[in-house]
């Protein structure tokens, strides 16, 4: 990170430890907002039809039912409230699929803080519904392109960082995933870990035991770390993150950072990334705008190295198929990002016993993808 940002990161780190970790009033206010405004706890739903079809007990953690339509609300409300406590007058955010952008816009409206969102031109095109939702909530959208027609999530992060460097005193940068410089990966994980904490309580109540596996899709990694975090110490629970294999791992068109990347420094953290031999960050691909990121949260890089989490992949085609299957069998339309997690279990179901319990973190809902899907189906 450039020197200019260091004092702001120190201020944020201080706020993380004194406000997020310790301030009782902040915690109470956040819990209230998550409950009454966002709709927590989200249900843990036994997907009976899908379970019958696949021959394994499948539960869906319904983050798609959160107000905002995805797990991103947990973090955007948390960071928005933190911005308010820190006395910041303006929130900026980056977005890929528009889920974090909309969550930030919604939190900005709710908290009365003007919000501006950076979004790649390619993503603006493929996620029209979320762009409209942000606009309706009065967020200003800054289209980002690095070359004519080229611009996705990493470019949006770059522009948001440049804005922050320029407006450091007044502005809070609400980052959408467990990426970026310290303390963001910790901060965002703390706002998302409620997903796993709820899963644990709910599954113990329903099944009287912990699940066999928890599956989540992985872009930057916030929904995955949120679902996994409370289970990391429960060694018997296998944790599976599903990266986007795009058009296939043998092609250049994927964003399977952990599976195909190497260590590098991107957006202020040292983690796995997709890069050339010369250290240039690669342009990546996924049908899912929210997974289309060449980096990954550093904690995932670590969990991969210690082999606590299995990092698998699903292709665009498998995700589309999973999107269809979940919609048809359960009447639940998943975000194309979350469909990658569903795709994994559809492909791997035969490796599980009938009595095994698999929890899929259904991180977002798929309304935003209907336009895209209608063109394919």
């Amino acid at each position: 990170m450039p020197e200019t940002l260091v004092p702001a990161l120190e201020e944020l780190e201080d706020a993380f430890f004194t406000i997020v970790k310790k301030d009782k009033k902040f915690k109470a206010e956040l819990n209230q907002a998550l409950k009454d405004y966002a709709g927590r706890p989200t249900p843990l739903y036994f997907a009976e039809n899908l379970s019958k079809k696949l021959g394994v007990k499948i539960y869906l953690k319904r983050e798609d039912l959160l107000h905002g339509g995805a797990h991103k609300s947990n973090n955007a409300i948390g960071q928005g409230l933190l911005a308010k406590y820190m006395g910041k007058k303006r929130i900026i955010a980056e977005t890929g699929a528009g889920q974090h952008g909309f969550a930030a816009a919604m939190a900005g409206a709710f908290l009365g803080i003007p919000t501006e969102v950076y979004m790649g031109v390619e993503d603006i095109k493929r996620q029209k519904l979320n762009v409209l939702k942000m606009k309706v909530c009065k967020a200003k959208i800054h289209p980002v392109q690095v070359r004519p027609g080229i611009g996705t999530l990493k470019d949006a992060v770059n522009e948001a960082l440049r804005d922050w460097i320029t407006n450091i005193k007044t502005t809070y940068y609400s980052i959408g995933s467990v990426v970026g410089p310290h303390p963001y990966p910790l901060l965002v994980r703390d706002f998302q870990k409620i997903i796993g904490e709820e899963i644990k309580k709910q599954i113990l109540k329903k099944e009287g035991k912990l699940p066999t596996a928890i599956v989540a899709c992985l872009g930057g990694g916030s929904n995955a770390i949120g679902a996994f975090y409370d289970f990391i110490k429960d060694k018997k629970v296998s944790l599976i993150a599903v990266e986007a294999a795009g058009k296939g791992l043998h092609t250049k068109k994927h964003s399977a950072t952990i599976n195909k990347g190497s260590d590098g420094i991107l957006h202020g953290s040292l983690s796995a990334m997709l890069q050339t031999r010369d250290g240039q960050v690669k342009e990546v691909h996924s049908i899912a705008a929210g997974l289309d990121y060449p980096g990954v949260g550093p904690e995932h890089s670590y969990l991969n190295k210690i082999e606590r989490v299995v990092y698998s992949t699903a292709t665009d085609q498998e995700a589309i198929e999973a999107f269809k299957i979940l919609s048809e069998t359960e009447g639940i339309i998943p975000a194309i990002e979350s469909a990658h997690a569903v795709a994994y279990i559809i492909r791997e179901a035969k490796k599980y016993k009938k009595t095994d319990i698999v929890v899929i973190n259904l991180s977002g809902r798929g309304d935003k993808d209907l336009d895209l899907i209608s063109k394919i189906l």
Partner: protein
């Protein structure tokens, strides 16, 4: 003492500031880029800055970002750029430093990168995205391989931090003038003067100012506060961009601009 330090010493005796002219190696193409450097040297620049391309240069504004993108898009490789450095240092008698983003150094390998740079005749580097906290491995590897790391300070850096940075910095301290990214600006304001006054008291090394400088009056204003060097880079790229249709005109314009800027350093 390296040739940048010698240059500062020599200029100080003449009571002159150093004009540091920056460009992006390989921009708009390798051949033209060499001719641009030739012109920069011939027009009186004291020190050359080479802003090496990175896909995600977060400290840079639109001008340099687009130039980096163009170089990478044209397929120029790092080894071609290193050959370019070698050619520059062999052809011209001007002190040179390189701006390199951290990931490039990291991916190539710290020792390997600094060694290669040395082999190209370059011994001073600025890494714009490595703060003090993460400096150590870079610092040691650079030192081991005979490369100097010049560090940056910004208007947001508190006094104590500036002192710590100055203690570690080699050859000069790169003083980022504004809270923002690189790019030519119209006005350099009073807050900047206040910042320079503040750091001048804390730093004994040559103080080189950058980010926003594009006009002779900027240099004259900064000279009043004992700034030792003035970095101009985005404006150079702007001039290149305005004259893509005629290389002759481009080089003439660059020459004229650099001489005007240089005359402002003679206070």
């Amino acid at each position: 003492m390296n040739n940048i330090e010698n240059k500062f010493k020599e200029l100080a005796l003449k009571k002159e500031g150093a004009l540091v002219i920056g460009t992006v190696p390989g921009y708009p193409d390798l051949k033209t880029s060499f001719d641009i450097v030739k012109k920069i040297v011939a027009s009186g620049a004291d020190i050359l800055e080479l802003s090496s391309s990175f896909s995600d240069p977060i400290a840079d504004g639109p001008t340099l970002t687009a130039a980096h993108q163009k170089v990478l898009g044209s397929g120029v490789t790092k080894s071609q750029i290193l050959d370019f450095y070698k050619k520059i240092t062999a052809s011209f008698d001007i002190p040179v430093f390189v701006i390199e983003y951290a990931n490039i150094v990291y991916k190539i390998g710290l020792d390997r990168y600094f060694k290669k740079l040395r082999e190209c005749g370059i011994d001073t580097v600025v890494i714009p995205d490595i703060p003090m906290e993460e400096l150590e491995p870079f610092y040691h590897s650079a030192e081991k391989n005979g490369v100097n790391l010049a560090l940056l300070i910004a208007p947001t850096s508190p006094d104590e931090r500036i002192k710590r940075i100055a203690r570690k910095s080699k050859v000069f301290v790169y003083c980022v003038l504004i809270t923002g990214v690189t790019g030519a600006r119209e006005v350099i304001d009073g807050a900047t003067a206040g910042f320079i006054e503040r750091v001048r008291k804390l730093i004994a090394l040559p103080l080189v100012a950058g980010f926003g400088i594009s006009q002779p009056q900027h240099i004259r204003a900064l000279s009043k506060h004992n700034v030792d060097g003035f970095i101009v880079c985005s404006k150079i790229i702007d001039i290149i961009n305005k004259n893509t249709s005629s290389k002759k005109k481009m080089l003439n314009e660059l020459g004229r601009y650099i001489s005007i800027m240089k005359s402002a350093t003679n206070n």
